[in-house]
């Protein structure tokens, strides 16, 4: 069976059922395989019921929720576990990194913008730990960028003389 999934705002696949099982996707991940009329949360897909466990076959078979990709609210469709309040998005430090590309002119602040994007991407995907990790990396990139800017200030002044 070929299964397509929607993660991080893009369509990925096709994957086999075994691959899907190995991925440990959040239950609200939008999935599609041939035979489904539309994208549905993985936890509601009958063919994946043994992986995600939540779907009860036979109960309102036609009545699945349509999920739109990159819609974090879709997480609420998959039972108590994910319907709980989502953890807050870790900081992306984007105001910092954008301003720093203007004044500390180091590639680190550009890297911080990219890791900021990865933070929200992980977060939207439901990977809260990954988002937290990326946010930590971003914070360090911002700190390095500021430090280099402050250290570079006198150095560049001396270099000018």
């Amino acid at each position: 069976m070929k299964i397509w999934i929607h993660t991080g705002g893009v369509q990925n696949g096709p994957y086999s059922k075994e691959q899907i099982a190995a991925m440990h996707l959040p239950p609200a991940t939008p999935v599609w395989y041939e035979g489904l009329p539309q994208w549905i949360p993985a936890c509601q897909a009958p063919e994946l019921a043994d992986i995600f466990g939540a779907a009860e076959p036979g109960e309102n078979p036609g009545e699945t929720t349509t999920v739109r990709a990159s819609e974090p609210a879709a997480a609420a469709v998959c039972g108590v576990e994910t319907a709980e309040a989502l953890p807050p998005r870790p900081s992306t430090f984007l105001a910092w990194s954008i301003i720093l590309t203007l004044c500390c002119c180091t590639p680190f602040s550009l890297a911080a913008v990219v890791t900021g994007a990865l933070t929200t991407q992980r977060y939207n995907r439901g990977d809260y730990e990954g988002a937290q990790r990326m946010s930590g990396i971003t914070e360090w990139l911002v700190i390095i960028s500021i430090t280099l800017g402050i250290v570079g200030l006198p150095v560049s002044m001396i270099a000018m003389m």
């Binding site: 991080g8 705002g9 990159s70 998005r89 992306t92 984007l94 105001a95 910092w96 954008i98 301003i99 590309t101 203007l102 004044c103 500390c104 002119c105 180091t106 590639p107 550009l110 913008v113 990219v114 900021g116 994007a117 990865l118 929200t120 991407q121 939207n124 280099l148 570079g152 200030l153 150095v155 560049s156 002044m157 270099a159 000018m160």
Partner: protein
């Protein structure tokens, strides 16, 4: 909460001091911090020209500021949007925090960096 206010006050103080500095001193003639990356590589970085642009802007010479570094006109409002993001409508937040949008910002910075050195 209190340390947050202290931090905000410090940022505001630095910002006002910097604006005053750049109002009175023209970085094009007075000694001013130079870009380290440019000193090492000889290439302009995406931020080169920001100080001169700021000085020109503070004297209402918009065209001159644009010529020094047009990126200022995009980066400052965008950074302000991110600072206020929590208070903006949901729909705007969704755009601001869409990975594709942020990656587009990064791509624009990179393109500007390469483009201005060609």
């Amino acid at each position: 909460m209190r340390s947050g206010n202290l931090f905000r006050a410090a940022v505001a103080f630095v910002a006002v001091a910097a604006l005053a500095w750049y109002y009175f001193r023209d970085p094009a003639v007075a000694p001013a911090p130079r870009c380290l990356l440019q000193a090492i590589t000889g290439y302009d970085c995406p931020g080169c020209g920001t100080q001169r642009a700021l000085h020109a802007l503070l004297h209402a010479r918009v065209g001159e500021a644009w010529a020094f570094n047009p990126a200022v006109f995009f980066a400052v409002p965008l950074a302000a949007l991110y600072l206020l993001a929590d208070r903006l409508p949901r729909r705007m937040q969704r755009v601001l925090y869409a990975p594709a949008f942020i990656l587009a910002v990064a791509a624009a910075i990179l393109a500007w960096w390469i483009g201005r050195n060609l």
